[in-house]
């Protein structure tokens, strides 16, 4: 196909995008949640896209942003893990190493003005050490006890800052994530009510099947919003 000159080779805008991903550290490892939607502009076009994937033995990757770029990143990681396994030396790449690899890819693409249009969350456990990090499309990366992408940063992280504590049980962690995902459902235009939660512990990764959250609409103020304020809309 057409041979691209240096100037014409750049990704300018995303097409099919995934919305927020939220993740937190808990007692046994990492819990991560995302909905299974793929938006095409303002249309909620695809309703069953899995955006949480296990990587190797020790990591979980969650992505928001352009789905085609996420699919490409999965191919890069597949190759990375394959070569790691081929060494057959009893060692395996942990979450810290995978996070670093992703950071290098994202930052180098950004330097070439051709970013992979994603925000990535990488979590995992190796030898009892829990790790949770994020990389943005321009290569900004950091680690924390709880992370989120997109609107999740504005809606979910305040909840997590308030209610997260060391040594959450699995049940507490799931309920906390569900609380965050419910708020995103109410307030994020591109959210879809089909959620996936996944966990990773020393034993391995589990991606639970998608489910839907109940939502609450029975506030009396919702039924009659303009009562008490005559003439308002």
């Amino acid at each position: 196909m057409g041979d691209p000159s240096a100037e014409t080779q750049r990704t300018l805008y995303p097409y099919v995008t995934g919305s927020s991903v939220v993740a937190l550290k808990y007692k046994d490892g990492i819990l991560m949640a995302a909905d299974t939607g793929g938006s095409y502009g303002s249309t909620l076009r695809y309703k069953s896209i899995e955006r949480l994937k296990p990587i190797g033995k020790h990591s979980l990757l969650g992505a928001s942003g352009e789905i085609s770029d996420f699919q490409e990143i999965l191919r890069y990681l597949d190759e990375l893990i394959l070569y790691d396994n081929m060494w057959d030396d009893g060692n395996s790449l942990g979450p810290k190493e995978v996070h670093n690899y992703l950071t290098r890819i994202m930052y180098n693409r950004r330097n070439k003005f051709n970013p992979l249009w994603n925000s990535l969350i990488l979590g995992g456990v190796k030898k009892g050490q829990k790790y949770l990090g994020m990389v943005s499309m321009i290569g900004v990366n950091f680690e924390d006890n709880h992370v989120a992408t997109g609107l999740g940063n504005h809606l979910a992280r305040p909840i997590l800052r308030d209610e997260w504590h060391e040594n959450l049980t699995f049940e507490e962690g799931v309920q906390l994530l569900e609380k965050c995902m419910r708020v995103l459902l109410y307030r994020d235009r591109s959210a879809v009510n089909k959620i996936q939660i996944s966990k990773i512990t020393e034993e391995g990764a589990t991606v639970f099947p998608p489910f839907s959250l109940k939502t609450y609409w029975e506030f009396s103020a919702f039924k009659n919003p303009t009562v008490g304020a005559e003439g308002s809309w």
């Binding site: 196909m1 300018l12 995303p14 097409y15 095409y40 303002s42 076009r45 789905i67």
Partner: protein, 251 residues
């Protein structure tokens, strides 16, 4: 305002394209309108293109881009079939389409639906929208969304919105798991004709292609064989046929 006819505007297929799996194979469907700006350059185009004996692709967006991608994929698949010694799988065909779409995402403006039948996985449908994402689905409807187009196209040659947007609600309601071949083809025919009724960028005839273990069947449904929708009237030869006897004069 008088619309200037820009005959040099790129040929774009506004388009309604659909791919549906059923119990035993797939049904692909499309309208037949290719437009150049506001002018209909071809009112009977064939947007369902063969890639191999068992895999077809529905094309939408830029006519040129979709044709050239189809040609390359057909070429690669031909060689792959020879090397493999047996028919290519639908998955391989879809992934070849994805590779071209993804790696040339800045230059291409085409959304494709790949559908076919192979002996390993049966009937499958893969959507490859703008950008080169690949998504396997039990049914897929085609391309072209206002906002995405506004970003992608700097010139006003693109037709904003297209037939498939009109079909999301319809399919949410009408789609069922495990349909028969006839149910699936009826669904596709109905859906394309509904989209044609409301979308200026779609029109003409409805073409369907059914692919299963037995082979491939092409069907053709001109406008007069399709159901009539809201506010549409039965086509007549002339007003005179409706009027019947001329009115007597009154003095």
């Amino acid at each position: 305002m008088d619309q200037k006819m820009d005959f040099n505007a790129p040929h774009s297929m506004g388009t309604t394209i659909i791919g549906v799996t059923y119990n035993g194979g797939v049904v692909l469907g499309a309208d037949s309108r290719t437009s150049t700006g506001v002018y209909v350059a071809n009112r009977a185009s064939d947007k369902i293109t063969q890639l191999t004996d068992n895999v077809y692709v529905c094309r939408s967006g830029s006519a040129a881009d979709s044709q050239v991608v189809s040609d390359y994929v057909r070429y690669f698949l031909h060689q792959h079939t020879i090397q493999l010694g047996q028919p290519a799988t639908v998955k391989v065909a879809a992934n070849l389409v994805r590779l071209l779409s993804y790696n040339n995402k800045n230059f291409l403006e085409t959304g494709l639906i790949v559908g076919g039948w192979d002996k390993y996985e049966g009937g499958q449908i893969y959507g490859v929208p703008l950008g080169g994402t690949i998504v396997q689905q039990p049914f897929a409807i085609g391309e072209m969304e206002d906002e995405i187009l506004k970003n992608h196209c700097s010139i006003e040659h693109c037709f904003p919105g297209s037939g498939s947007s009109y079909l999301y609600g319809f399919f949410d309601q009408a789609w069922k798991e495990g349909m028969t071949k006839d149910e699936a083809e009826d669904l596709v025919k109905k859906a394309v004709s509904l989209a044609i009724a409301r979308d200026g960028a779609s029109g003409g005839v409805v073409r369907t292609v059914i692919i299963n273990s037995e082979g491939v069947t092409r069907n053709f449904y001109p406008g007069d064989q399709l159901p009539l929708w809201h506010e549409e009237l039965e086509p007549q030869n002339s007003l005179l046929d409706i009027l019947g006897a001329p009115e007597p004069m009154n003095i």
